[in-house]
């Protein structure tokens, strides 16, 4: 309680600066970015307290915490203070250091987000960096699929051109065989530039 009065006094002195929670009293700043601060009412705060207790029980149940009494944390042990319009608040738990509290909340952050129907960008806890969605690395690189399609189309086009050329050559040969005097000029020779300019001019 003494700590609380001290905090309020310090706030007065600081003037119009943003909310800072007192680390000496193991307080962690929690921000909930809402357009209407009244949305996070007393019931939601009670739910929040329950979630903090849940997270501490879970964390201290799996890893040992310094005061072992933290395993039995309940909502009465969680204290919320200094609520501002932002919406921001200071959260403290009896006998719990900031470090333990932060770690516990971090472990159960998805449950926090889900229960309160918020997200990592809305519910911010001081000291916890928002978990970023990792890129899903597909087994098969996605870009290869259209690439293979293009390659296949190109190969098919190449085969078509070769087949057409072969077909044309056969047709021409057949015609040249059937006609008595093979007129070279007619269908065009194999080389488009027959009898082109001399190489001597170089």
């Amino acid at each position: 309680m003494k700590m609380k009065i001290f905090l309020i006094l310090s706030l007065f002195i600081a003037g119009g600066s943003s909310l800072t929670c007192d680390p000496a009293s193991n307080e962690v700043k929690v921000t909930v970015k809402l357009a209407d601060p009244s949305e996070f009412d007393d019931y939601d705060q009670y739910l929040f307290k329950g979630l903090v207790a849940y997270s501490l029980q879970k964390y201290c149940g799996t890893t040992t915490c310094s005061p072992s009494s933290l395993e039995e944390t309940d909502t009465v042990n969680v204290h919320i203070s200094n609520k501002t319009d932002r919406f921001a608040m200071c959260v403290a738990v009896d006998d719990c250091s900031i470090d333990t509290l932060t770690k516990a909340i971090k472990q159960s952050k998805p449950q926090f987000n889900g229960a309160l129907e918020l997200s990592d960008t809305v519910l911010l806890v001081d000291g916890i960096l928002p978990t970023l969605k990792p890129q899903t690395i597909p087994d098969f690189p996605t870009w290869l699929i259209p690439f293979i399609v293009f390659i296949c189309l190109t190969v098919i086009a190449a085969i078509a051109i070769i087949a057409y050329t072969v077909h044309q050559t056969k047709k021409r040969k057949k015609r040249m065989l059937s006609s008595s005097s093979g007129d070279d000029d007619d269908e065009g020779s194999d080389h488009i530039y027959e009898n082109s300019g001399a190489a001597t001019q170089l």
Partner: protein
């Protein structure tokens, strides 16, 4: 055998025009011109640009198209015929086309890679990869997700040109595909590429139109357009702007590659070359303008979005500080809030340490070149609804823009080689495949880690100064060495008769520009370019992984040596060719006098006093020696029966 019958021909006029337009309209129209327009005075830049188009671009293109159409040869054969001392000019064009084609296809490979990556939602350059669940990769965080995707995941760029980085397999795959597509399109020469250009030359316009409609309906588009066209008329007094305009129009029209000469050599002799020139030039400039509108509409949108993101970041800081609920300050009320609380906008920014957000500042970060397409524009597409579709359209457009420019480059190699007979032993298909194979092997340089740096070296030293030199000599060759009056006489045999005002005006226009105005302008551009190259330190921007940004490094000695070699390869042939011809003349005497060209009649000037300039001349009636145009005459004409008009007589003509 009359060579005219064997030479391939365009199926119709549209193929020829679309091929030339496709060759002229390239990536530079999309990613170089908008930047030049905006940074050189906005709307006011259009004045020097249009003036240079009229006095430099159109005459140069006219010279190339007429030379090709008249002489029915690619660049090598054509310039040899104009004057044997100019045999080197064609070789220079050939090498330039070859070298540029090699690195140009790398850009197509990049476009293909981005295209293949566009078939997914969300697009891969939208977000940074995550490390440790809570933070992004440093390089990506310091730069941006688009820059990271370009520099790291696509290029896998190394920290300097000296570090090779190895060949990137994914780029190797797209490079192979790119060369395969080019080879397939050119496999039958213009018979195949002429069909492909129906698509590749027209598709970009379709996409530009879609982007135009989409772009101008985006928020912030008008800001971008206003920024682009805002005329700064006072800049026009700066000669630099005029030189920039002439440089831009010169490189925009794909001149001096020999590609235009090659394309028009497949034209029928009586094709209206003057109107063709005007069509190609005007279309090229209109496309540049259209692309600028599209690019800057989208850039204005992007700048606005970036501004809003910046302001929202500031708003969060303010809300945190004042403990106000979310959404109590919006982007619209941001300014008034600052003024209310802190007395002034900048006072508020200073006191709270906010970022100074400004749309103009975002637009000022002008980018051109690959950065514009693969970073800035790709980033902008992310913000558009339906981004994968727009990404696919955009990169397909870049692909088609680059492809038909590649056709011009390869034709600039193919046609001269065929014309001088080097490749007549081989099937044309094998020649194409051979050229593509060799180009592919050399272009492997550009897909290693340091490939982008090498590409810039090639672009600077093969793709710029040699072109200016070649173009200058082309003008001098036609205007002064062959003499413009003779040139005009030859042309009047197959050009449209000058019986209306339009034709007469053009006649005098060509007279004024081709021999006089254009060479002077080109010389000025050339001197400015040399001066600019000398005073610019030999440095390049190298991307650093740890910084997420570029730093300026100097080129090492061997790179400078290679760039000198590249410039020499592309230009040394002009003097060398002249020297070789001189030596030949000196040792072989008068018998190597110039052979008559197609259409030239074997009358001595001394006999008749003038050339036969009737264009109703039936070429088939003339003796074969003068109509074959074939330098390999079937017999040696006796010297006294057909007096050769050799170069020694030029000065004696009236």
């Amino acid at each position: 055998m009359n060579e005219d019958e064997e030479r391939p021909q365009w199926d119709n006029k549209a193929q020829f025009l679309l091929t030339c337009i496709g060759f002229a309209v390239g990536l530079g129209n999309v990613w170089r011109f908008p930047y030049q327009l905006q940074s050189n005075g906005g709307g006011a830049f259009l004045i020097p640009y249009l003036i240079m188009l009229v006095f430099e671009g159109i005459p140069l293109l006219y010279v190339e198209l007429t030379v090709g159409q008249w002489l029915r040869k690619g660049s090598m054969g054509a310039w040899i015929k104009i004057n044997p001392f100019l045999k080197g000019l064609g070789i220079c064009s050939l090498f330039v086309s070859f070298l540029v084609g090699m690195y140009y296809n790398t850009i197509i490979a990049w476009c293909l890679y981005y295209l293949c990556n566009s078939f997914q939602d969300p697009l891969p350059w939208k977000s940074c990869p995550v490390v440790n669940g809570t933070s992004y990769i440093t390089e990506c965080q310091k730069s941006s997700s688009s820059e990271y995707f370009w520099y790291r995941e696509t290029l896998h760029i190394t920290s300097s040109i000296e570090v090779s980085g190895g060949i990137q397999t994914h780029l190797l795959a797209t490079m192979i595909l790119a060369w395969m597509i080019v080879a397939l399109c050119l496999i039958k020469g213009i018979a195949s590429s002429g069909k492909v250009v129906y698509v590749t030359a027209t598709f970009p316009y379709l996409v530009l139109f879609c982007f135009l409609v989409r772009g101008v309906t985006l928020r912030g588009a008008s800001t971008g357009l206003r920024y682009l066209f805002n005329p700064k008329v006072e800049l026009l007094s700066d000669p630099q702007i005029w030189l920039t305009a002439s440089t831009q129009i010169f490189f925009s029209l794909s001149l001096a590659f020999g590609g235009m000469i090659a394309f028009s050599s497949y034209n029928p002799k009586d094709s209206d070359v003057e109107v063709d020139t005007l069509i190609v030039c005007v279309t090229n400039s209109v496309t540049s303008l259209l692309a600028s509108v599209v690019i800057f509409a989208v850039l204005g949108f992007k700048a606005t979005v970036d501004y809003e993101t910046c302001v929202e970041g500031n708003i969060q800081t303010l809300l945190d500080f004042h403990d106000l609920p979310e959404a109590s300050i919006t982007v619209d009320t941001y300014d008034t809030f600052l003024i209310e609380r802190y007395g002034s906008y900048f006072g508020g920014i200073a006191e709270r340490g906010l970022n100074n957000c400004s749309v103009e500042a975002n637009l000022d970060d002008g980018v051109s070149g690959t950065g514009l397409a693969f970073i800035v524009f790709a980033d902008a597409i992310l913000e558009m609804p339906g981004s994968p579709i727009w990404a696919i359209l955009f990169f397909l457009m870049l692909l088609t823009l680059g492809l038909d420019s590649m056709f011009g480059n390869i034709e600039g190699v193919l046609t001269p080689l065929n014309d001088i007979g080097l490749t007549k032993k081989y099937r044309n298909e094998f020649v194409v495949v051979g050229i593509v194979l060799v180009s592919f092997l050399v272009s492997l340089t550009f897909i290693q880690g340091s490939g982008n740096y090498w590409l810039d070296v090639f672009d600077k030293y093969a793709g710029s100064i040699p072109l200016l030199i070649i173009a200058f000599f082309e003008l001098i060759a036609v205007g002064w060495i062959y003499r413009y009056d003779r040139f005009n006489n030859e042309l009047s045999k197959f050009l449209k008769p000058r019986d209306n005002l339009f034709r007469k005006a053009l006649y005098w226009f060509w007279w004024a520009t081709v021999p006089i105005i254009s060479p002077i302008l080109l010389l000025a551009v050339f001197i400015y370019y040399i001066y600019d190259s000398i005073i610019t330190p030999l440095k390049y921007d190298a991307w650093q992984e740890n910084l997420g940004d570029n730093i300026s490094l100097s080129y090492p000695g061997y790179v400078i040596a290679i760039s000198v070699i590249i410039t020499l390869i592309c230009t040394i042939w002009i003097p060398l060719g002249a020297v070789v011809e001189l030596v030949k003349r000196f040792f072989c005497g008068h018998q190597t006098g110039r052979v008559l060209n197609v259409g030239e009649v074997g009358y001595s000037v001394k006999e008749t006093g003038h050339y036969n300039s009737g264009y109703d001349h039936n070429l088939a009636d003339l003796p074969r020696a003068v109509t074959s145009g074939n330098d390999n005459l079937p017999y040696d004409p006796p010297a006294n029966k057909f007096p050769y008009i050799d170069d020694d007589n030029i000065s004696k003509k009236e």
